[in-house]
């Protein structure tokens, strides 16, 4: 398939996944605040930190209050990673490959965008945020469902799935990073069961709470981190995403797993192996933040390698990469 088309489908899916994750973060935060009204204004800064885009926020705002942060993360067209910007970018990508994706996908995405552009959306986000962010999440799910059930699972689809997986791995690492930093000033508490509602919220934002309970029962920071990084079966864990991305990548190239024909396969294989041969105690000993920060860097490199391997044979061709910035809180 055309390199440009592969690039567009990959980014279309990354943007939708990104929009969904922003909605997840916000949704959980809003929920959390209901339980701790006194801390209302302390919880919006970390949310912006999750995105790594504090600098952009502070260009126009000084105060991390609910309204300002929600606007920034949801409707700000000048902020390229706001939900609206993501959905718009996904739609622009989709428009450039309309003949490749199914009409159901296009119509859904088009409608997603048109609805979001309406005045009523802003009203709903302010008056009934819970419902609003839930709708965003469900629309993203519907999109992914359409991707899976209305489009042939050929090359284009595999690129789409790689996009979803890399974006999701990145977002799971970010939410964990921020909350871990916020919630755990003392490393020796790491194995102590703390019935902290905030840890539940971390899990919830990745829809992981119930699945976690089945696996570990008690909530300890160590196990939460372990589950979100290493779980083999949970579809939003970092390991799972990377392992799936590898499967899709090898389907595209036709190379058997275990052998390598290009640098994208090499990067991804190495990343997966590193995750396989690392455990949570090692990670915590050497510093979770450093570990996650390094992972995010590698995701970005991955994205870059996929671009150079498949999307632009010609070095002068311009690509529209939009990896998210890496400056996620330095303590």
């Amino acid at each position: 398939m055309l390199s440009r088309v592969a690039n567009s489908i990959y980014w279309m899916c990354r943007y939708i996944e990104r929009a969904e994750n922003v909605a997840r973060f916000i949704g959980v935060n809003l929920n959390l605040l209901l339980d701790m009204p006194s801390e209302k204004d302390k919880h919006w800064l970390p949310l912006v930190m999750t995105t790594g885009d504090q600098e952009l926020f502070e260009e126009n705002e000084t105060d991390y209050n609910q309204e300002a942060v929600l606007w920034f993360l949801t409707f700000d067209r000048t902020y390229p990673n706001s939900i609206l910007s993501c959905v718009a970018a996904a739609r622009e990508n989709a428009r450039s490959i309309r003949e490749i994706i199914s009409s159901e996908m296009w119509e859904h995405l088009n409608n997603f965008y048109l609805e979001l552009m309406k005045e009523e959306s802003i009203k709903m986000a302010l008056q009934d945020p819970d419902r609003f962010y839930n709708i965003i999440k469900m629309r993203s799910h519907l999109f992914t469902g359409l991707l899976d059930s209305t489009m042939s699972h050929g090359e284009a689809w595999n690129f789409a799935r790689i996009g979803v997986m890399i974006e999701r791995a990145d977002k799971t690492s970010r939410i964990l990073d921020v909350k871990y930093f916020m919630l755990l000033p003392q490393a020796d508490l790491v194995n102590t069961p703390i019935d902290n509602i905030q840890w539940i919220s971390v899990l919830r934002s990745a829809s992981a709470f119930e699945m976690y309970r089945k696996e570990f029962h008690n909530i300890t920071p160590r196990n939460v981190a372990s589950f979100l990084i290493f779980d083999k079966n949970f579809p939003r864990s970092i390991y799972y995403c990377i392992a799936r991305a590898q499967v899709y990548l090898h389907r595209i190239t036709g190379t058997p797993q275990g052998s390598v024909t290009n640098s994208a396969e090499k990067h991804l294989g190495r990343l997966k192996a590193d995750l396989e041969y690392t455990d949570i105690d090692e990670v915590i000993d050497s510093g979770l933040h450093e570990f996650l920060d390094n992972l995010q860097r590698r995701f970005n490199t991955m994205g870059g390698t996929i671009s150079t391997t498949f999307f632009n044979i010609e070095p002068q061709a311009t690509t529209t990469t939009n990896e998210q910035s890496q400056t996620i809180l330095q303590s």
Partner: protein
């Protein structure tokens, strides 16, 4: 909705209702259906159709408006109906015209017989902005230049069809014909069936057949692509739609590269050769090494590969010469020259400003004429005398005097009208008709085409960029005897 019986034609020819207020042959069922709808029902159906178009993303971008402004191409539910006997004449006339124009293009780039015989003035050809010196001595695959044409026809007050313009470069709009038909079928299913309307849906199949015909003989399954300027082009929807319907690649200039004497696509598996391009980019932009060097839309080296016969293109570069509005004035003679026949479809009478006598007349009567620049389209570069301001007339007077070669003028036509939904009433609005013609192994004319309607009361400008809309066009099957 009583208005459908209205017989006030304000002196114009109405396509559906005759002067006595009686539906024309074939229109009776439609009138009966619409008059039987409950109050407000038609408006509701109209709104539903518009919402559907927006949801499907069938939109276009208007140049010069706010960035990202998207509009649906306004669509009116009441179809325009053409009986089979009228259509037969149109079809024969278009086939004759396209055949002759193709002969003409081949001749002027090669033997130049028509110029030597002084039927068309040579300096007119050589001074045309759309004449391509690069094509001299060239014969395109199968000798076909104008593969896809969208000829604009109008019906005058006398009830006759005239050719208004030949669009032989990259005529757009055919996707609306197909989409409009889908919407109408959903809106009036039974009526549609009973009316015995000829189908238009095989257009993408015919287009594909024509493109395959252009590939070299030995090629079993040629790789075909639609070359688009990209998603910000106003006709992008159509480019993507056609490539989807044909199941061929949709490519941009940046997806293509010339290497080893062939044109290749950049794919995820390296380079892949492409054999036929249905290009929707003007000549000027297709190859920066030959035409406009600043073009970012084209492919460097494309013309060279093309002239070596290693890629086919529709329409052939250089075809635009027959699109020049001054050349248009000579088309009846061109038809006669190559076919020995009189033109079946007449031209609109045209004053050629480079001719002194005509120019004097035009400058004298500018307030009653329509003045057009030779190479503009989309309703730009045009003056409609009776609707113009004094300043506009003065501006065009200056333009004509400065560059008479570049202008023609025509009497202001009283275009025919079709009843159209306006708010919750039905009123007559002016229309034209653009049938689409494909020239491959044979010449195919899609039954019907795009009926464009000027939605503003009294307006004669039907272009989508100037507030026009469209209607479905029903060509009826002949009566069963």
């Amino acid at each position: 909705m009583e208005i459908f019986r209205n017989d006030d034609h304000e002196g114009f020819y109405d396509e559906l209702i005759d002067e006595k207020g009686i539906p024309r042959p074939g229109v009776e069922l439609l009138v009966e259906k619409i008059n039987s709808l409950p109050e407000g029902d038609l408006t509701l159906r109209q709104k539903a159709a518009e919402a559907l178009l927006l949801k499907m993303g069938i939109t276009f971008n208007v140049y010069g408006k706010d960035e990202g402004a998207e509009k649906i191409f306004p669509f009116d539910l009441i179809p325009r109906i053409i009986p089979s006997n009228e259509w037969e004449k149109i079809e024969a006339g278009l086939k004759q015209r396209i055949f002759a124009l193709n002969e003409f293009i081949q001749d002027i780039y090669n033997d130049k017989k028509i110029l030597k015989d002084n039927v068309v003035p040579e300096d007119l050809i050589l001074s045309s902005r759309t004449y391509r010196k690069e094509c001299e001595g060239f014969t395109p695959p199968r000798g076909i230049w104008c593969h896809v044409t969208g000829t604009d026809l109008v019906r005058g007050g006398d009830g006759c069809f005239y050719v208004l313009e030949d669009n032989l470069r990259c005529p757009s709009g055919v996707s609306y014909v197909l989409e409009n038909r889908q919407v109408l079928k959903r809106t009036f299913p039974q009526l549609f069936e009973k009316s015995r309307v000829r189908q238009v849906d095989d257009y993408p199949g015919k287009l594909l057949e024509m493109l395959e015909y252009l590939a070299p003989d030995e090629m079993q399954s040629p790789t075909i692509g639609v070359l688009t300027p990209g998603m910000y082009n106003s006709a992008y929807f159509e480019h993507s739609f056609l490539s989807q319907q044909m199941g061929v690649e949709l490519v941009e200039g940046r997806d293509l590269v010339v290497s080893d004497g062939f044109v290749h696509m950049l794919t995820t598996r390296g380079l892949k050769r492409i054999d036929v391009l249905y290009r929707r980019i003007d000549d000027d932009f297709i190859d920066p090494s030959v035409f406009r060097p600043d073009s970012l839309l084209g492919v460097k080296g494309l013309m060279d590969v093309y002239k070596k016969g290693r890629i086919a293109m529709a329409n052939a570069p250089g075809t635009g010469i027959a699109d020049d509005k001054v050349i248009y004035a000579y088309v009846p003679e061109i038809i006669k020259y190559y076919t020995g026949e009189e033109a079946i479809l007449p031209n609109v009478p045209t004053y050629i400003c480079r001719e002194e006598k005509d120019r004097a007349y035009v400058l004298d009567h500018i307030e009653e004429l329509v003045v057009k620049a030779a190479n503009e389209s989309g309703g730009y570069g045009m003056l409609i005398g009776p609707h113009s301001t004094k300043a506009e007339r003065e501006q065009f007077t200056e333009l004509i005097i400065a560059n008479p070669r570049n202008y023609i003028a025509q009497p202001t036509l009283s275009l025919s009208r079709v009843p159209t939904i306006v708010g919750n009433r039905i009123e007559g609005r002016h229309v034209d008709l653009r049938p689409y013609i494909l020239f491959g192994k044979d010449i195919y004319v899609q039954p019907g085409g795009l009926t464009r309607v000027a939605l503003k009361k009294g307006s004669l400008v039907v272009n989508s960029s100037q507030g026009g809309g469209s209607k479905d066009t029903w060509v009826l099957l002949p009566h069963q005897s």
